[in-house]
Symmetry: C3
Subunit: 267 residues, 3 copies
């Protein structure tokens, strides 16, 4: 099984699928191609939350604002999962959630010429013609190769190099006190629910209470529909973090807050 994740929208994911299907019979599963555009940290968060629900697979991930520069390509082994993507840190939080011990390998490749792009080049070793679409020309061939060759392939003579130098994405740490918490908005989902980095445990014993979120009052409840339509609610989202929401409305609007903003809770 190969999963696909990107910020490509449409139709570029199809080119990756075509390349994969040229080289492997693996089952393909779209995670999403609408991850927050060029937002490596938010996508890393989503992958950390989503990939653990999958059975062992090769996970192809392309949110890659640095495509065509000298940023590298990495493959990360995490137990029976393998993650493939740019060396911008996007794979690491998910990999560490999937396994206690991970191993990172650099992929060796040489840049080709985009005016000579050839749809039927071999999967391995990768020879990216384009400098603007490594999803198609580098990461998809790598994912197909890794899928079919298996875990034992990560050897230097096969185009991989074990490395301890790779980019990392980290999430900010919340500050939790007796009378509140200070955190940050990690991402906003398509419903407008505001997902923070504050762990849901801080709400234990406060369900039914009113709390202040950036000075705005809201009720702590277990579900969106526990408040009337249009009303603000503070809850624990499906990822276990504190979420700001509005029943049948958008939390981001009602709390006037966006990705990267600070959020201060007072109990």
């Amino acid at each position: 099984m190969i999963t696909l994740s990107s910020d490509f929208g449409s139709p570029y994911p199809a080119a990756m699928k075509g390349v994969l299907l040229q080289h492997t019979d693996a089952r393909l599963v779209d995670i999403s191609h609408d991850f927050p555009r060029q937002d490596v940290r938010a996508t890393a968060f989503w992958l950390q939350e989503l990939l653990p629900y999958f059975p062992p697979a090769v996970h192809l991930v392309v949110v890659d604002p640095g495509v065509g520069t000298d940023r590298g390509a990495v493959v990360v082994r995490a137990d029976e999962h393998v993650l493939v993507g740019p060396d911008n840190g996007i794979l690491l939080p998910a990999a560490r959630r999937l396994a206690e011990d991970i191993a990172v390998f650099a992929v060796k490749f040489e840049q080709g010429d985009p005016t000579e792009a050839d749809p039927t080049t071999s999967a391995w070793p990768p020879e990216p013609d384009s400098q603007t679409f490594h999803g198609r020309d580098l990461f998809a061939p790598t994912a197909a190769h890794v899928h079919d060759a298996g875990h034992e392939t990560f050897q230097t003579d096969d185009g991989f190099e074990r490395t301890d130098e790779f980019a990392e994405v980290t999430f900010p740490e919340p500050t939790i006190t007796d009378d509140g918490a200070v955190g940050e908005v990690l991402t906003i989902d398509s419903f407008g629910n505001v997902i923070t980095n504050v762990p849901g445990e801080v709400l234990a014993g406060r369900f039914g209470d009113h709390v202040q979120a950036n000075g705005i009052s809201a009720t702590v409840r277990h579900s969106y529909a526990a408040v009337d339509g249009g009303h603000r609610v503070v809850t624990v989202g499906s990822h276990g973090n504190v979420e700001l929401a509005v029943n049948r409305g958008r939390g981001d609007k009602a709390f006037s807050i966006g990705v990267g903003d600070r959020i201060r809770f007072k109990w």
Copy 2:
């Protein structure tokens, strides 16, 4: 085969797919994850029109504004099809279209704690940790279980209870007279075509005529392109109902009409 329908947009459907793939090798087919958000009636209409085109399958449906409240979970058997979703009526119109006799079963489950969400819990019996994402934690495990265990599983000792008490969604009845019809807008498709509850048969013998739709004149034709670009047309849509459209434009704008609005035709 398991089909997936929701109003989740992206990326929450991936969590449901991961859970399904953990527990079953079934083929997965996305119906849509962009059904009208939290609009149970409109989605019920679309499912009624779409699911009969599918071969026998388990249909997982999650448009669920009441998630985390005391609304139940149901499984509906309709001939060789099985529908799984919240007990808000969304499954019933499709089920009745799929089979003359249907059987509804309540799913027995106990609510867990969202701060202890575990991606690798067993499929059955379902133990939803989150109260905000039963698609992942309750309905997907149920669909996987039903798919692999088969029709004979709907027994009380296996977590199901046959029931005659369940929510229903009904569509308003149009009024048809000799000189016109009065109906309601059920939904608007992504082209802007306005889909009403008025059966297409009322247009028999009127093709080529001008009619009034809420006082606005339009031609009755068999196809959008039978009128010039930008012109209004009244036609029979692919679901058999009367549709208001504009060739290469949006009917909803040209007729200034939205979901739930009344539509009065005069011949």
Copy 3:
């Protein structure tokens, strides 16, 4: 393998998938259902660029503003690929890219009555009930039939007729001179990158230079991120054509240009 391409958005593609799955066990792969709406030429360009990355398959394509008029349905054989869609020219550029010699066949069908739509009609010969959704009622059954019956089926007595009369889509030819080039915008991708019909070879030897694009200065570079965020760049896209872009921004806005507009480069 059957691929699906359309401008349907959601949820109409599901009806095509249901029909396909009723009649074949083929693997289904979505190319995109968000091709530029009713833009036959832009979709033809995308298919020409995308389909060569796929292994041999049946490619079902429905961007069909003339649905329900007297436009025909065609099947195009291109080596081991088969393309199925409306006779509006959309298939031809991709087919000619896939094979040197192509063969075009007209599909014979009779129009049915949309008020008698029957989800379980046989795949072949096609009997489209609706006049507004031939994707479901004509092209999907044809694709399923062609997939399962194979290449040897294109015979007159099986509902096909070899033809030399069919619609074509052509792309405008750019004019290239010593001191510049004049071309046209073919499409704009979801990142806002402006894709022209000017071949990337014209930029050879100019990387690092400043050029004028419709009088606006920009740097020629191999990748988006080779310029600072928010800065304009002229590059060779993954299709090999000249592209106007902005690093971490939208090229269409920064160059004030849209589909079909003329673009004049001066070196």
